[in-house]
């Protein structure tokens, strides 16, 4: 555990003491701000009954951010260490592969959540000016952040896996992006397949990230998507662990 904290601290430091970390945060803040403007315009023009949080997703900015930014967060994790050779010094200390993977993933998730904080501020502004507590309560905000967290975990674990496969950061980002977009488009495939094809559409509907996120935004926490996200995250972390271990049997 002691070693895990040391690893985590170092990973967090490399996010927050580097320029890239702040560039990512700035870019995300800009995109969140833009989506906020769109949200405000929509609220201003029509009457709207759904919770404000749901609107955030309908603008597509959310998915754009998740799909684009998670590969950039994770590409560095293993690829850079392998490229610079520090992977060798790291793995010849008495740390276990699991500790390394867990620390890197935890740091990426922490950074990812910090990155979303400006969104919270936007929501409070809405609340302040609309004076309608019903549109934005703790439940919907909590549900939304749980959704953001779970989606993030899945895409970040995917990114970890991609980064553990290669020594090139660019390649890691590309692989993560392709995997992420493929996973994301599976949901649209589910809509396209006719309902008659029973099990296929059912399997695919579990991967329907888009609709599931809508549920979270409404404050509805269904256990099925939660199980899906958590298990998929663990699957990719497991694969990452295998990829890290692969130097032992390759």
């Amino acid at each position: 555990m002691k070693i895990f904290w040391a690893l985590l601290r170092r990973e967090l430091a490399s996010f927050f003491f580097s320029l890239t970390g702040y560039v990512i945060i700035a870019a995300v803040t800009l995109l969140v701000g833009l989506s906020f403007v769109v949200l405000m315009l929509t609220l201003g023009s029509d009457s709207f009954t759904a919770p404000v949080t749901e609107l955030v997703y309908s603008t597509f900015f959310f998915w754009l951010i998740v799909l684009l930014v998670t590969p950039i967060i994770t590409m560095r994790l293993f690829a850079l260490e392998k490229f610079s050779g520090t992977f060798e010094t790291l793995m010849t200390t008495p740390v276990s592969d699991l500790q390394v993977v867990a620390a890197k993933f935890a740091a990426a998730v922490f950074f990812y959540m910090v990155m979303w904080l400006p969104m919270l501020a936007c929501l409070f502004i809405v609340r302040h000016f609309t004076n309608q507590p019903g549109t934005l309560d703790a439940g919907t905000v909590g549900g939304m952040f749980l959704g953001i967290f779970l989606v993030g975990c899945l895409f970040l674990s995917l990114g970890c896996f991609a980064s553990a496969l290669t020594r090139s950061q660019m390649a890691a980002a590309m692989i993560a992006f392709v995997l992420g977009v493929s996973l994301f488009s599976l949901g649209f495939l589910a809509r396209a397949i006719p309902v008659t094809a029973q099990w296929q559409s059912q399997v695919l509907s579990y991967c329907n990230l888009f609709d599931e996120m809508d549920d979270f935004a409404r404050g509805v926490v269904d256990t099925r998507p939660v199980v899906f996200y958590v298990s998929a995250t663990f699957l990719f972390l497991f694969l990452t662990l295998r990829a890290v271990e692969s130097r032992r049997w390759k």
């Binding site: 170092r10 580097s18 050779g85 010849t92 130097r247």
Partner: protein
Amino acid sequence: MIEVSNLTKRYAGRTAVSDISFAVARGEIVGLLGPNGAGKSTTMRILSCFLPATSGTARVAGFDVFHQSAEVRRRIGYMPESNPLYPEMRVREYLKYRARLKGLGWRRSRERVTTVMEQCGLADVGRRVIGQLSKGYRQRVGLADALVHEPELIILDEPTIGLDPHQIRAVRQLIKSLAGKHTVLISTHILPEAEMMCSRMLIMFGGKILAADTPENLQRRMAGSSQIIAEIAASAEALRKCFSQIAEIEHFDVSSCEGEFQRCVLTPRDGLDLRPLIFVLAQQNFWMVRELTRHRHSLEDIYVQITRPDEEEENE
């Protein structure tokens, strides 16, 4: 401390280390010597548990490097060839992080970091960012990292590469001071370096160990071909006649030098020292001698001879 038996490492289509066996006792400083691509780094990577061996076993302090890798890693300090560091970290911060990774407690790691920083001459750069340090300092940071948890075995892959002569001297001093307390395995392709630091040398070439002995013994092994060089003021015929009568001289060569002096190169039989004999000869014949030296093959000659590719093929 280290027991390696029949170790082989094959990369796709290439054998980097082929069937080597050696042992290193506790407290020894052993040099792994060989040209680039001889398999030194691969051997070290296997010993430090970074790469698995294709076949054969290696044990460090009685623990198998593959099956008990955590135990082995706790006992070694390893510095890879390229000495990779995190350029964005500060020296003290980096060493502290490494000490923590190696399982040292908070207080203990602080103590040890201070100690090794002094030992490696890093005391006044503790707050500098590693990326801005000179090569010499970075090398010392790598060394300090290898020492920080007081490992039983220290594995250094080319520790003096790219340093200036002063820094090389300092690093050598430091490594020498580790003898006895730690076991040290150093790889290098610079022979005088190994000669100076190591109590024993393993000469590797083409993935095999060709010679393993102390520097003195390796030298002695070649002493049979040592030569005596004498510059004597006498006529060439007289010298030739005299030398041909002495049984101890296997071969001689007399050539004229400037003035009346003749340069004689004598090869003794069985590595005998001919110098007293020459002195007596000169005394008897009233010759003037201005030089009398024994030319020994340096380790460099041995090294070149052993690791020369064409000779290697002839031996096989």
